[in-house]
């Protein structure tokens, strides 16, 4: 970790590349602000500043070892669940059920930390699915019962179950395929998922901005186009092909598939959170990350890509 620029750890090398990209972005934004001072670049500046903070926290967590990574993702889940509960309609009587929902976070990440896959994979989909309505029944309030049961569990699935897959990735060992470059597969796999998911967002945006004509989901996200979607998926698949052999135990061909999965799933995650925001009639899920909005605005794609990539890589490489 300390030999930052002479490391042969692929994760460190990729972080150095990201650092380079951030420096370039910061310089470009600085030049833009200098050149046309009448245009307001506040949001661009905030956005890039927030990227610095997010990348720094992510890099620190990932390079500080397994426990730090798991606690980091558990905390991210907590913030996301809190944001979700803050924007959806809830009932006064639900307070204590929401409290139990929060308590599922440390348990879920504990299962990941001890590598108890069986419990990890059914705890929220089965046990919490059964426990929440039971606890709601004890409250004795039937008005909006279905809404409460459905929305609390859906939130847990999206913000805790999905994100915890990143935590489970941390404990995956090296395989025969990548044993010569790294002793753990985890950090590389996480970096691969998060990096490709975020770059896919950027790629879809850029393709849509430059070529976009045909709206793909006009009622949910009017700015999303077929051109942006396909261009993004293709770009991400290509990136996956290049990066996978370096960061993961996957071969190039599987990297292409993984990139395509991340591209498609990232898009669906994005518009799913958009649909939620549209129903609630809000623009951002909160104002926590300056220039980006809320944590769910940033995690939207990841809630879909994390579990799908996890199962893809678990099936093909382990």
């Amino acid at each position: 970790m300390f030999n930052l620029f002479f490391s042969d750890n692929p994760v460190v090398i990729v972080f150095v590349v990201i650092l380079g990209l951030l420096i370039v972005a910061t310089i470009i934004s600085y030049i833009l602000r200098k050149k046309n001072s009448e245009h307001d670049y506040t949001e661009l500046k905030q956005r890039i500043n927030s990227w610095w903070v997010m990348v720094a926290m992510f890099a620190f967590a990932l390079l500080s070892g397994v426990t730090a990574s798991i606690i980091f993702f558990g905390f991210i889940s907590f913030l996301a669940l809190k944001e979700y509960f803050s924007i959806i309609p809830t009932r006064k009587v639900d307070r204590r059920v929401l409290f139990w929902a929060y308590l599922s976070i440390p348990l879920q990440f504990y299962w990941a930390s001890i590598g108890w896959y069986g419990m990890f994979i059914i705890f929220i989909p089965v046990y919490m699915l059964l426990f929440i309505p039971f606890r709601l029944v004890l409250l004795g309030e039937t008005k909006h019962f279905l809404r409460a049961a459905g929305s609390i569990h859906w939130g847990l699935m999206i913000t805790v179950f999905s994100i915890s897959h990143l935590a489970f990735l941390t404990i995956l060992p090296a395989t025969e395929a990548n044993a010569n470059t790294t002793s753990f597969s985890g950090p590389g796999l996480i970096l691969f998922t998060v990096l490709l998911t975020q770059l896919n967002d950027v790629a879809q945006y850029l393709w849509g901005k430059s070529l976009g004509k045909r709206a793909i989901v006009p009622h949910i996200s009017p700015n999303k186009t077929w051109e942006g979607f396909l261009g993004g998926v293709f770009t991400t698949a290509l990136l996956g092909t290049l990066v996978a052999p370096f960061l993961t135990p996957l071969e190039a061909w599987y990297g292409f598939l993984a990139g395509a999965i991340i591209g498609i799933a990232g898009f669906i995650g994005d518009i799913t959170v958009s649909a939620l925001k549209r129903e609630l009639d809000i623009k951002d899920t909160s104002a926590m990350i300056p220039g980006h909005g809320g944590i769910l605005d940033r995690l939207d794609s990841l809630t879909f890509t994390a579990p799908l990539f996890f199962h893809f890589v678990r099936y093909t490489a382990f």
Partner: protein
């Protein structure tokens, strides 16, 4: 003793209150903050929870801590010695009497605190009431503003704390706290006008915070 209490107050806010407010609860600014940079000043806010005071104090830089005094009901907070010590020395409240029959002027202490350059936190609803419902403002704030017309009044609207820790509940359930600010109001010469302006400001601020239903 004063030094000990002062240190305890500082520690309480740095070690417990700030992490609780900023990490467990989380603040969601709905517009640019407008806060006093020094005393004297009056912060006026809606009241839903014991957390209101904690959040408002955490909005200010820690160097202003010794100047901040939440105005609170004497009958409630001074009901037993331990509670009174905690309220007065750690939270730093300025107790006032809620009883109408009281002979002395309940606002006299507020005036002298403002003269000393303090920043007062004022809840014109009088009590926490039902969570996340704005009740009618009492007239005390207009009275105080008229008596100290040069002191700026900062309206702050908060949403979410009544869900996190409503009246009568002891378990904190994390929810984001939405906050909307407004540039300071100054007393214009008529109490009734000031009161109306304040009420109108809070209605505007309430619309800025898009609160989901809580029934």
């Amino acid at each position: 003793m004063k030094l000990i209490n002062h240190t305890l107050r500082l520690l309480f806010f740095i070690v417990i209150v700030r992490p609780l407010v900023k990490i467990i609860i989380g603040l969601n600014y709905r517009n640019l903050p407008s806060l006093p940079k020094s005393g004297p000043g009056i912060i006026v806010a809606n009241h839903n929870s014991h957390l209101d005071t904690m959040v408002l104090i955490s909005l200010l830089p820690i160097r202003l801590l010794s100047q901040v005094q939440p105005v609170a009901a004497a009958d409630y907070f001074l009901s037993n010695p331990i509670k009174a010590w905690f309220a007065k020395s750690i939270i730093g409240i300025l107790p006032i009497s809620r009883e109408k029959s009281c002979q002395s002027d309940p606002l006299a202490d507020c005036r002298s605190a403002l003269n000393d350059g303090k920043i007062l936190i004022f809840f014109p609803e009088g009590s926490r009431g039902e969570p996340e419902k704005l009740t009618e403002f009492k007239f005390g704030i207009a009275k105080l503003a008229s008596q100290c017309p040069e002191v700026p009044v900062y309206p702050i609207y908060m949403h979410g704390l009544g869900k996190a820790l409503p009246k009568g509940k002891f378990v904190l359930v994390p929810f984001f706290c939405d906050i909307a600010f407004h540039p300071p109001l100054l007393f214009g010469g008529e109490r009734r006008d000031f009161q109306n302006a304040l009420v109108k400001t809070f209605e505007q601020l309430k619309d800025k915070v898009k609160a989901p239903s809580w029934d």
